[in-house]
């Protein structure tokens, strides 16, 4: 009786470990995806910045309008 309870307990531990391991892997995959997307978005942003960076942005306070291409 005691032996079978121990076996069930071991199987339950294994199930729990697989569940945790898979969940952990899923979280780490989400983290990795977020980091990759962050790097890609930064590269896009910096490329845009380098392209337009030297151009003076006209301030509405100076009587001008912001560059329409850059308007959110």
């Amino acid at each position: 009786m005691k032996k079978s309870v121990n076996s069930i307990s071991k199987i339950m531990d294994l199930f729990l470990w697989v569940k945790v391991r898979d969940g952990f892997a899923l979280v780490m995959a989400a983290v990795a995806l977020a980091v990759i997307l962050t790097v890609i978005f930064t590269a896009v942003e910096l490329k845009k910045y380098r392209r337009d960076g030297d151009a003076e942005i006209t301030s509405p306070d100076d009587g001008g309008m912001p560059d329409s291409d850059n308007t959110d």
Partner: protein
């Protein structure tokens, strides 16, 4: 004192205080739910719940921020509050199956509201640091309040109603975002990075400083911290330090504040192992660089302040990652780690921050 008065009463500083309250209320709810759930968790899985929370609330903020940069009409703060309320209801009433789906919704809400706060305060600050610094400071007060409340018999509905009290502020604060103006126009005052250094280097070093600071935060020797009141004082010192960092940087210069606080924190922290007041001064100084690293990121990513903010939260996660697996208990070892990392942070900040004279000109 004139500089300090100007920093405290600068234009649109109210956006910072509105998000201070929102940040405070959201962390109360998040930590109330987290600690309640951990209290009922399997002992072998105690680490998993906070780990998933840190990973899914902190790391995606850069992506969420970048998307939010592109959709200025979207109220990220308000959406985040709604999600967090739903998550808390789910923890309470079991709407979603299991605890982890509710935790994922809580993380999504947390990330959205953080990004909303960053967008509003950075865009309305005119290049000043006080606004985002005040917003960030609210979190420290919320973390300790939520943790303490989780140990009481307070029902979930009380913290849910408390977070809902922040809804009017989330709606009002959105007005400060100036949605139809190019964010590079709004963020043009952020010129704190040293000229001539490649943007990628500035970003990398700034992230490294946040990683190191986050890790150092878990190595601080605090033999004096034995009661709940001590924990409250610790978090108050952190919150005050975070806000003061931005305010002092506006008043006296970013570089001066960054270097004095980075170097000044070390002796207070090491000598304050057993003396609470000395340690608290050190922790206050230690927390001051928070808004400065954020301002450095915005300086090189003016078109995407949400993405820039996300870099700091991703770095915070990376910095806290080792503590889930290794804990430093020896005073000698933590002193060595703190000293080495302080020197590294000091050198890094000295290299990448531009001169204060130039910075003061932009606020004229």
């Amino acid at each position: 004192m004139t500089g300090l008065k100007k920093a405290l009463t600068s234009k649109n500083i109210i956006s910072g205080w509105m998000y201070f309250y929102i940040h405070f209320a959201m962390e109360v709810l998040c930590f109330f739910c987290l600690k309640k759930q951990i209290a009922n968790a399997d002992v072998s899985l105690l680490w998993l719940f906070p780990f998933v929370y840190d990973a899914l609330a902190f790391v995606p903020q850069a992506v969420v921020g970048y998307i939010n940069d592109r959709f200025p009409k979207f109220n990220a703060g308000l959406t985040g509050i709604i999600l967090m309320v739903f998550a808390a209801l789910s923890f309470w009433l079991g709407i979603l199956p299991g605890r982890y789906p509710a935790l994922i919704v809580l993380c999504a809400g947390n990330a959205l509201t953080h990004v909303g706060g960053a967008e509003v305060t950075i865009r309305s600050s005119g290049g000043r640091l006080a606004h985002p610094a005040v917003f960030v400071a609210g979190g420290a007060f919320g973390v300790i309040t939520g943790t303490l409340l989780s140990g009481t018999n307070l029902p979930y509905i009380a913290v849910i109603l408390f977070l809902l009290s922040a809804v009017p502020f989330a709606v009002l604060a959105q007005k400060f975002r100036f949605p139809y103006v190019d964010s590079r126009e709004l963020c043009k005052g952020f010129n704190y990075a040293k000229k001539g250094i490649p943007v990628s280097v500035i970003l990398f070093v700034s992230v490294l400083v946040v990683v190191v600071r986050a890790y150092m935060g878990y190595c601080l020797p605090m033999a004096w911290k034995t009661t709940a009141l001590h924990s409250v004082l610790l978090y108050v010192a952190m919150g005050v330090g975070k806000a003061a960092g931005g305010i002092l940087a506006d008043a006296y210069g970013v570089k001066k504040t960054a270097l004095i606080s980075a170097a000044g924190a070390l002796p207070f922290i090491l000598l304050g192992n057993k003396i609470m007041i000395v340690s608290l001064i050190g922790i206050m100084l230690f927390s001051m660089t928070m808004s400065i690293t954020l301002a450095l990121n915005v300086s090189v990513l003016k078109g995407a302040p949400g993405l820039a903010f996300g870099y700091t939260t991703t770095a915070l996660f990376i910095g806290t990652l080792p503590i889930f697996f290794i804990s430093v208990k020896s005073y000698l070892l933590s002193s060595i780690i703190l000293s080495v990392f302080t020197v590294l942070s000091f050198a890094a900040l000295a290299i990448i921050i531009g001169k204060d004279e130039k910075i003061s000109e932009q606020h004229q």
